[in-house]
């Protein structure tokens, strides 16, 4: 993890994403701006169809904006090609999805190793890093289980370990508790808070206000526009 970044980690300015649906243009994101500093914990909350996932995909470099600028760690993303984006996803971003998105045929540790494989980390070091990450999320005993042999909460913890293994500065979580019951959801959220405490920047997407309120900053999104909710800060 980068310890000392001079500027903000995420700087989004006038960013838009449009989708063409038939003859109609849908503005999923409409000229949004957002700045996130290192170590922050930002929750983005909004109703269904408001553009949360679209924003998440932009921040996660899974997609490029139609318009505007996105600087990640000082680097402009909009002009990058597929390979460069893949590299950035691999080194800068850890994803935690609502549906876990683990590979069902791989064991927990193999899933966690995956981003390290793509980074080209040698086998021994990779295994050690993956084990370390699994132990951090309390799954040291379940390393060789497949996702189907794990509970939902455990699967999400494997996904968190996978996101953490490569030690990226930003963790993006799209409704990480959406598929979990209240109790395990709370555990997962505590884990995310703990990770934030260790210095990782976190952007969390949710439509649940009680979850959003666990974050340091809450940002509302409505019809593709962002509204910072200062009243909830701190």
């Amino acid at each position: 993890m980068k310890s000392e970044s001079p500027g903000p980690l995420i700087r989004i300015e006038g960013l838009s994403k449009w989708y063409q649906m038939g003859g109609e243009t849908i503005k999923a994101l409409d000229c949004v701006s957002l700045t996130v500093y290192q170590g922050d914990f930002v929750a983005i909350i909004g109703p269904s169809g408001s553009g949360k996932s679209t924003l998440m995909n932009m921040i996660g470099c899974l997609d490029v904006p139609t318009e505007g600028s996105y600087r990640l760690d000082g680097v402009e993303i909009s002009a990058m090609n597929d390979n460069q984006l893949a590299d950035i996803r691999n080194t800068k971003i850890g994803f935690i999805f609502q549906g876990f998105n683990l590979l069902p045929k791989l064991t927990a540790i193999e899933n966690v190793e995956l981003p390290l494989i793509y980074r080209g980390v040698p086998t021994r070091k990779r295994k050690a890093m993956a084990m370390d990450a699994l132990e951090k999320v309390g799954l040291g005993e379940r390393m060789h289980h497949r996702p189907s042999e794990l509970s939902g909460g455990q699967q999400q913890r494997v996904a968190i370990a996978r996101a953490l293994a490569a030690n990226p500065p930003i963790l993006l979580a799209d409704e990480p508790t959406g598929a979990l019951d209240t109790k395990t959801g709370k555990e997962v959220l505590e884990m995310i808070q703990h990770i934030n405490g260790q210095g990782h920047t976190i952007v969390l997407i949710t439509h649940d206000l009680s979850i959003a309120q666990q974050a340091k900053r809450v940002i509302r999104i409505q019809d593709g526009k962002l509204y910072e909710d200062w009243s909830d800060a701190g």
């Binding site: 899974l62 996803r89 793509y118």
Partner: protein, 390 residues
């Protein structure tokens, strides 16, 4: 991502659906196995025929006389003059006829060939027991006979026929030798015949003229010279009628036989090659299905940092491993099959490493070629769209 990781991943995903992998490989397996076994069979038969032709002697020319008008054959003396011609080493004239040969209460219908002592060297056909004809036998019209191996067994069983008598057209002949076993060849059944002195044959057979002459050239290089000499003598004899005789050159025969065989081999490998191609299409088919099924997996991999080439590589390796594995099993089946055919039937099989390597290499190539399209399709998926795929 390195090669080792890629192969491990590919093997993992192949092993997770063994039945499908097997069915995918089946086309390649059958293709490779049939290339190898068919070519082995084809080459086996080429070799066998070549050996047969060569066993007749590579300096050998065969003249068949059909004649013109009343002149349907040559006389023994006419033939003997050929011996003096340049390029010709020896000639063995043959007078032949189908006759019944009797020994005791057994009899059999065989070809009797009346010839002289040079037959032994010209046709490289020796006596395994007793002796061959001697010049003296011809000179004095001796009533002696050599029996072909099968004929000897048929008439005398396991008793040696030497010094016993056989009756040819009712005339007793003393058996002086038994011919070595040669098996069947292009010139007919070699082991079912009786050889007697040509002078005797001219007396007792219905058609006494010489209609077959075996001519030995001095060397393989002299074959053409010898052929020209024969040509000259025969055209003169039959007044320019080229249809009244035919000269067979061993070399020509060999060439035409092997060209027929190589055409056959090529056709067989063509058919087998097509089945390999069809196998490749099968692989492409399954790989395309697999790419669609695994769209989400591809999305996840891309989200966590897999590059285009990582995904391309993963699917390409998978299809090459499938086709390569199919190729290996095909090689095993093909080699095994060829040996089994060689072992359980009397077909001869010549196994060739070239063809084995070539067809295995071709199966790898098929894997790459037909894997490229699906792999490329997978590599070009957009990560968000792939992730959204249900």
């Amino acid at each position: 991502m390195n090669m080792y990781q890629g192969i491990k991943m590919a093997l993992g995903s192949i092993m997770s659906n063994k039945l499908r992998a097997f069915l995918t490989m089946l086309g390649i397996m059958i293709g490779v196995a049939s290339v190898i076994s068919l070519v082995s069979l084809g080459q086996g038969s080429t070799q066998k025929v070549t050996e047969q032709v060569q066993s007749l002697g590579s300096n050998l020319l065969t003249v068949n006389v059909t004649g013109r008008g009343a002149q349907t054959s040559l006389s023994y003396d006419e033939v003997l003059t050929l011996q003096e011609k340049p390029g010709i080493d020896a000639v063995a004239p043959v007078v032949s006829s189908r006759v019944t040969v009797k020994a005791g209460n057994k009899n059999t219908e065989v070809t009797v060939e009346g010839t002289d002592a040079s037959y032994e060297t010209v046709r490289d056909f020796h006596a395994q027991e007793g002796r061959f004809l001697l010049p003296i036998d011809v000179q004095f019209r001796q009533k002696v006979a050599l029996l072909g191996a099968s004929t000897a067994e048929e008439l005398f069983g396991f008793v040696s026929p030497l010094n016993n008598y056989v009756q040819i057209n009712g005339i007793p002949f003393k058996v002086v030798g038994v011919l070595e076993e040669k098996g069947d060849s292009m010139s007919g059944a070699n082991d079912e015949k009786v050889i007697i002195p040509i002078s005797t044959a001219e007396r007792i057979l219905a058609s006494p003229g010489v209609r077959t002459i075996y001519v030995q050239a001095e060397s393989p290089e002299q074959v053409e010279m010898a052929e020209a000499q024969l040509e000259a003598m025969l055209t003169k004899k039959f007044k320019g009628d080229e249809d009244s005789y035919r000269i067979f050159n061993q070399q020509d025969l060999l060439e035409s036989v092997s060209s027929v065989n190589s055409t056959l081999t090529m056709m067989l490998s063509g058919i087998a090659g097509i089945s390999l191609l069809v196998g490749g299409i099968g692989i492409m088919n399954i790989m395309l299905v697999s790419v669609t099924e695994r769209t989400r997996e591809i999305g996840i991999r891309k989200a966590i940092g897999a590059k285009k080439r990582d995904i391309l590589f993963q699917f390409l390796i998978e299809s090459v491993v499938l086709s390569g594995l199919g190729g290996l099993i095909g090689v095993a089946l093909g080699v095994g099959g060829a040996y089994a055919i060689g072992h359980f039937s009397d077909t001869s099989v010549v196994f060739s490493w070239d063809v084995t390597l070539l067809s295995f290499g071709f199966s790898l190539f098929v894997g790459i070629f037909f894997g490229l399209f699906p792999a490329n399709k997978a590599a070009n998926l957009k990560p968000i769209e792939a992730l959204r795929f249900e």
